[in-house]
Amino acid sequence: MRDFPQGIAGLGVSMHKNLLRAALLAAMAGGPVLATPPPPLPAEHLTVAKLPPRSPHWAYVLDEAQNNEIDARVLLYDGDTYRRLGQIGAGFMPGDNLSPDGNTTVVAATYFSRGGHGTRTDVVEFNDNETLTKTGEIVILPKHAQSLAMLYDIAYSADGKFVYVPYLQPAASFGVLDPVRKSVLSEIDTAGCVLVVPSGPNRVASICESGRLLTVTLNAQGREASRASSEPFFDPDKDPVFVQGVPTDDGVAYLSFLGQVHEVDLSHAQPAFRPVWSLVGAADKGVWRPGGIQIGAIHKAQGTLFVAMHRGGDGSHKEGGSEIWVFDLKSHQRIARWPVDPRQISGTVVAVQVSQDAAPILFAATDKADLAVLDAKTGRLKHVEKQFGQTPSLVLNP
């Protein structure tokens, strides 16, 4: 808090006297007769805003700022008051995620020494979610996986003791970091398998070109203790799955280009694959497809899956949704179908996220940078934020 010096307060007093004189003159000139003019405004104090108490209806929206890619940022948005609450810097081609306790936003990014060029430094930065200040960093090997941001491109272990960050050289591996001591514990060669899906305190699953999941188990020091590959669970030639998995109650769900849902239970030492089910009936297969970037979201307690769907053919897998379809995870039935109203929302939906509370809201970001807020039970459009950042594409929830 800064108080302005006495001199300026004194200036206020003399301004007051001048105002009074002016008012009296105006009155004598036949102008409006004022009653006693309102007291002058008090001096302000320059402060730094404090965030309101954390709400499940907040969204951490990663904006890659595509036209200015060295200038990515995470925008914090309040889905109840429809206000921007603040911002976290995120460098070039970042990945971000939240700590399990919600207190930290971790960002992995590249910075160049001269802004747009120069020596490359890759860092994992830790940001305090109460003050939105950077509280520490770990310098990692300059081979952070630079790609379109997606879920599981950086992650904490379930107990918050490790942070996993993928590398791409283009050889694939990931780093295991200690977020408390701010150190690199190990590098795990994944032999081509990508991303880091954490399960339990010390398991990491990566998805492979062979259609398998690689599971690496770490010891207490963060070094590899063992690894195993699952049987192939999808065919990348016939029906590839989107590499960005959707977090579930006990693991992750992979959606395929043709609308198959592969739910994977990661709660045990080895992944267990549930029977595959389909988002589309026979008539719609290959016609209606999931698509976009952050294609789906699951409300874990209510057991509902929200997917951005579009009509399209081969090669349309990155097209955003013209509709959001809602499914019950137990019955596998579609329970709702919400068209995106082009009169209110510009563009197609490329990212969906749902809050995990009992009165959930759905965030939907479009390829025209609109951020829509919907009632996740009824689909009612509550609010549209026009031009929320430049290219918002990943929405995280506390």
């Binding site: 050889a171 060669d189 032999a191 081509g192 070109e209 062979s210 690894r227």
Partner: protein, 150 residues
Amino acid sequence: MTGAAARLRRAAVLACLIAALPVTHLYAGPQQDYILYCMGCHGPQAEGVPGKVPPLAHSLGRFMRSPEGRNYVLRVPGAANSALSDAQLAEVLNWVAQKFDAAELARGAAPFTAEEVARLRHNPLTSVLATRSAVVRQLSSTGSAPPDQY
């Protein structure tokens, strides 16, 4: 091995190779497979990228000298997980070795066969760099070897 025995062996291997080829030759061939599946990272001259992508030129033929080297080649991610069939992978590897490490290959390393590929590739390496270093060390001690650093 006597000259006659070596020639016999080579003829036998060649016969196996021909037997392993698909009956119809309508597909484009190893040159196109190299372009589509390998060249993006390993380069049009199989030169790799220093520090980032290993070369195949002056390298692959040497790995083919020993069982450990051949085992390594067939289990690297680009081979193990490649969309190429076993027969196609064998052909493209043999094509690369012939094109970019011919002198080494002329010393007698056997070409890959589809059978050998099928037997080894579905067990991907867990630690590519560490394995490569170990194999290169081993090869260095018995003759020509790929570069250790790249």
